[in-house]
């Protein structure tokens, strides 16, 4: 057995237990009222291991991960900024952890106060008129947003609107969300500068348009300069404008979606508000709306009556699109975001967009100097930017994926690869405001060396990584010979 890929099941031994973690067994007669026909006949195959074995196994596993706490993690569109430890400690205070989601309001005032204030902060930074914190991820925020667009049109008896527009550079969640809300999707082209093709957009708008979903700064890493003209075109056709908050970090404190004309937005608190990504979740995707969409916000929402707080009910929001989870969404993530908002305050919030943009523009310039090609050289970077390796791919047969893998050997997490799809061989790079200049320089140095390697020894780059627990994995085999569950030999 290869020790490095040893499973917890491989160290299991019949009869071994972490005894003090579970209560002592109950007497059989206490279970006698459970009908025999509904009882389990054989034990589930869970590992039989000691507490030390568990702690050691998962500690060793964790160490195989790249993480913000260990490495620079410039994953474009993901805003991998520092996750304050203080936020984690605050969210894990016993009073918060032990609060039952259905506890009465009399025993929830501390928690409700935090959420109410967070709602107010998010309104202020986005310029929206109402906020609901409940969506559990960006994609669920998108769902809530588009569902509200649909509810709005339906409340006006406007049933002709069957289509959602998305720029071709959009995140895959945008079209997938539109379909989940019962819409058809029409993609709108993006021009060579990274802006939406305005004429094509105007031509696409009509009585069938329910709305447009877009990200600004866009997924091309540039600010959409025609935003007002876009808003006008969509609004004139009777459609609504949806803001995908994936890149909100770029403009935090600089320009507000509400002021740009957006009717509905979602925010990714795991990006912009520094809550942890946790290996793929949980996140939080609150939604904000303009005045006309307020009646449709998803519940629960926290309201204020004098000095006390309460949940707004269906009686308060008879037109709500409803509940998206059993309870209050990812409540603990919201507390971490609340901590972050309080720690930054007004002046800190204003700096986020500034310093994330400073870092990105600095890196873009330096990477161009060492020989990389910007996808949009005439444009300012937002908080992220795209370089394209189309040239290198042709000249040295070294792809964007090869460079990404080689970066791992330099102890740098790879940027986002092959997104957006319209830029060939691209890397989308987002440094965030929390990295030192030295960290940015180390990444740039690594990229310079890799370019040199690509020229002189392309095979070296194509075989990377060499320093990780495994080398490149056989994805084809993973999909063809599905092995999704361990079974005893």
């Amino acid at each position: 057995m290869n020790r490095e890929a040893q499973l917890i099941f491989d160290v299991s031994k019949a009869g071994r237990r972490a005894f003090s973690q579970a209560p002592k067994p109950v007497a059989d007669d206490k279970l006698s009222d459970l009908p025999a026909g509904l009882r389990r006949q054989s034990k589930p195959m869970l590992p039989e291991v000691s507490e030390l074995q568990v702690v050691r196994h998962y500690t060793n596993l964790s160490s195989k991960n790249f993480a913000i706490d260990k490495q620079f993690y410039p994953l474009g569109s993901c805003t991998m900024k520092y996750n304050p430890r203080g936020a984690n400690r605050a969210a894990m205070l016993p009073g918060f952890l032990k609060r039952h989601p259905l506890a009465p309001e009399s025993h929830s005032q501390g928690y409700l106060a935090c959420l109410f204030e967070l709602q107010e902060f998010l309104k202020e930074v986005t310029g929206m008129k109402g906020v609901s914190l409940t969506p559990m991820a960006g994609a669920q925020g998108e769902f809530a947003g588009v569902a509200m667009i649909r509810a709005y049109h339906e409340a006006r008896n406007d049933h002709a609107r069957t289509e959602i527009l998305v720029p071709e550079a959009a995140h895959g969640t945008n079209p997938a969300t539109a379909v989940m809300c019962g819409y058809k999707v029409r993609e709108v082209p993006v021009n060579n500068n990274g802006d939406v093709d305005l004429e094509a957009l105007k031509a696409a708008c009509g009585p069938q348009t329910a709305g447009l979903m877009m990200t600004n700064p866009s997924t091309c890493g540039v600010f959409e300069r025609q935003i007002e003209a876009i808003a006008k075109a969509v609004h004139e056709s009777g459609g609504l404008l949806y803001y995908d908050g994936a890149n909100l970090n770029a403009i935090l404190g600089k320009v507000r979606p509400g002021d740009m004309g957006f009717d509905v937005i979602h925010m990714n608190l795991h990006k912009t508000f520094a809550t942890p990504h946790g290996g793929g979740g949980p996140g939080a995707g609150p939604v904000g709306v303009s005045e006309r969409l307020k009646p449709f916000l998803p519940t629960p929402i926290v309201g204020q009556d004098g000095d006390s707080y309460r949940w707004l009910s269906d009686a308060d929001l008879p037109q709500t699109i409803g509940h998206l989870s059993a309870f209050m969404g990812n409540a603990g993530v919201l507390l971490r975001a609340y901590y972050y908002a309080r720690a930054l305050g007004r002046e800190g919030m204003l700096r986020v967009g500034e310093y994330s943009s400073l870092a990105a523009n600095y890196m873009l310039k330096r990477l161009q100097q060492v020989g990389y090609t910007a996808a949009y050289p005439e444009r300012r970077a937002s908080h992220e930017f795209i370089i394209t390796l189309a040239k290198e791919s042709k000249a040295f047969d070294v792809s964007a994926m090869d460079v990404a893998k080689r970066l791992l050997d330099y102890n740098q997490h790879a940027p986002t690869t092959y997104f957006p799809l319209l830029v060939p061989e691209c890397l989308l790079i987002e440094p965030t405001e929390t990295e030192t200049k030295e960290a940015l320089d180390e990444f740039i140095d690594a990229m310079a060396k890799i370019l040199e390697e690509a020229r002189e020894n392309p095979e070296l780059v194509k075989g990377a990584p060499y320093s990780q627990p495994v080398r490149r994995l056989d994805d084809v085999r993973a999909a063809r010979e599905l092995n999704l569950v361990w079974k005893p030999a």
Binding site: L46, Q140, A147, P298
Partner: protein
């Protein structure tokens, strides 16, 4: 500047390299009249000490009550090692394992999670988790509509004995896709869904029947008969189960002749704190034949180019980043951290430990029901076997009773008035963490309130 490391010199060097005089110049593509003001409604920033003090005071406000509410979220003992390990920075601050070589820790943990959940439910495969149990049920309904090729309609049968908040979230999530959810009433005496109540749907075209075990009332359904009835009528079966209960109860993979098709449930009982409702995670398993219709991340075991075993995201052709508008769902994350905690929890407890937890929950709730029902006018509402929740009937309004109990710092249960119109009924729960003292304290308080 909180969390921003640049010295004035750094800033100057960076600005010089870019070739601009001021940071503000980096925003010159944004129309000037759109620029934000001073964000005056935001408070001043606070130091770590100050925010911590503020939030500690808020947290303390909500402390002190003894909780007998279940209704989909359960207070269990969580071994210290669970969150000590799960919040290690290497788990806490990593992202979705797109770079598999640098994410083997997360990937292998998910593979082990998938294995444990599949064994617990008796199913072939599991995904890497979804947001929570309720939204997981919505995803399962949509999945069943895709997977049941014999069904030509968009209709699903949903017993009203399924958690009302699950039914609500499911309806709100699937409604825009033209899905009809037909609600099946429960037996008023026994609190379960009977095959007789389903008879009127026999031979009709429904894609799936949902079966909750235990159901919302804590009652145990005749899952074998229900499963076989659904299969005989060309419906798939979606099981909604409590994971703790599966240490004692027959796993859905073994219900009826052939086992169910899809299993979902709330993973919170497996080592995730109550935490006001989240983050939790929904688990989702299915038969092998339906795996390509499953939403969400799935991890597979494979080998690297040197033949060394490793783990990678697989079946990505189902997902939104590849398939866009044709994806199985728009979901693009799992509840990684909560799922990691559950994996550690299940490892620490093992099958025997989990059975002990389940046994104590069952025994404690029975004891609580017995003590409360010895009070004049208090009875069990339904005549059925239960797992770790019981509906009791009071001689007066449940809402008012719960309010009076809360004033004594006892959160006595969940009222059935809003969802079912049973004004005098409430759902109670005593998990393994509730002591005999607390149970007696509750009984004494209720006697006082009702006196």
């Amino acid at each position: 500047m909180p969390y921003i490391p640049h010295t004035p010199d750094d800033v100057q060097v960076m600005l010089d390299a870019i070739g601009v005089a001021r940071i503000e110049d980096l925003f010159d593509e944004i129309p000037a009249h759109l620029k934000a003001g001073a964000l005056e409604k935001l408070p001043d920033g606070l130091t770590e000490m100050e925010v911590t003090a503020l939030m500690s005071a808020r947290a303390r406000q909500d402390e002190g009550a003894v909780c007998f509410i279940g209704a989909g979220a359960y207070e269990h003992h969580i071994p210290a090692a669970v969150w000590e390990v799960a919040t290690r920075g290497e788990y806490y601050t990593a992202y979705t394992p797109y770079q598999a070589e640098a994410s083997q820790g997360t990937l292998q943990t998910i593979y082990e999670y998938q294995s444990m959940i599949a064994h617990l439910t008796g199913m072939d495969v599991s995904n890497a988790s979804v947001y929570d149990g309720a939204s997981g049920l919505a995803e399962a309904v949509l999945m069943a509509l895709r997977a049941n090729r014999k069904s030509k309609t968009n209709r699903v049968l949903m017993p009203t004995a399924v958690h009302p908040l699950y039914r609500r979230a499911t309806r709100d999530i699937v409604t825009n896709q033209g899905v009809t959810i037909e609600e099946v009433p429960f037996c008023n005496e026994r609190g379960v869904t009977s095959v007789d109540a389903l008879a009127q749907y026999a031979g009709e075209d429904y894609a799936a029947l949902v079966i909750a075990q235990p159901n919302f009332f804590g009652c145990l359904e005749d899952v074998d008969a229900l499963t076989d009835w659904a299969h005989a009528n060309n419906m798939l079966v979606i099981a909604v189960v409590n994971p703790t209960s599966l240490a004692l109860l027959k796993p859905p993979g073994e219900w009826g002749e052939n086992g169910v098709d899809i299993v979902v449930g709330e993973g919170q009982p497996l080592g995730v704190p109550l935490s006001s409702g989240g983050p939790y995670f929904g688990f989702m398993c299915c038969k092998q034949q339906h795996v390509r219709q499953m939403p969400g991340r799935i991890i597979g075991r494979t080998v690297d180019m040197d033949g060394k075993p490793g783990f990678a995201l697989t079946l990505q052709a189902r997902e939104q980043h590849i398939r866009r508008s044709k994806a199985t769902s728009n979901i693009c994350t799992n509840q990684g951290l909560a799922m990691t905690a559950a994996t550690i929890y299940m490892s620490l407890l093992g099958a025997d430990g989990l059975a002990s937890v389940a046994g104590h929950c069952h025994a404690n709730t029975n004891l609580l029901a017995e003590k409360l029902c010895s009070i004049n006018g208090v009875t069990r509402r339904f005549a059925s076997s239960t797992f770790h929740e019981v509906v009791i009937e009071l001689p007066q309004s449940a809402n008012l009773t719960l309010k009076a109990l809360a004033a004594k710092n006892i959160l006595g249960g969940y009222s059935l008035a809003p969802a079912y119109g049973f004004d005098n009924a409430m759902l109670i729960c005593a998990t393994e963490v509730r002591t005999l003292d607390e149970i007696e304290q509750y009984a004494a308080a209720l006697a006082e309130v009702l006196a």
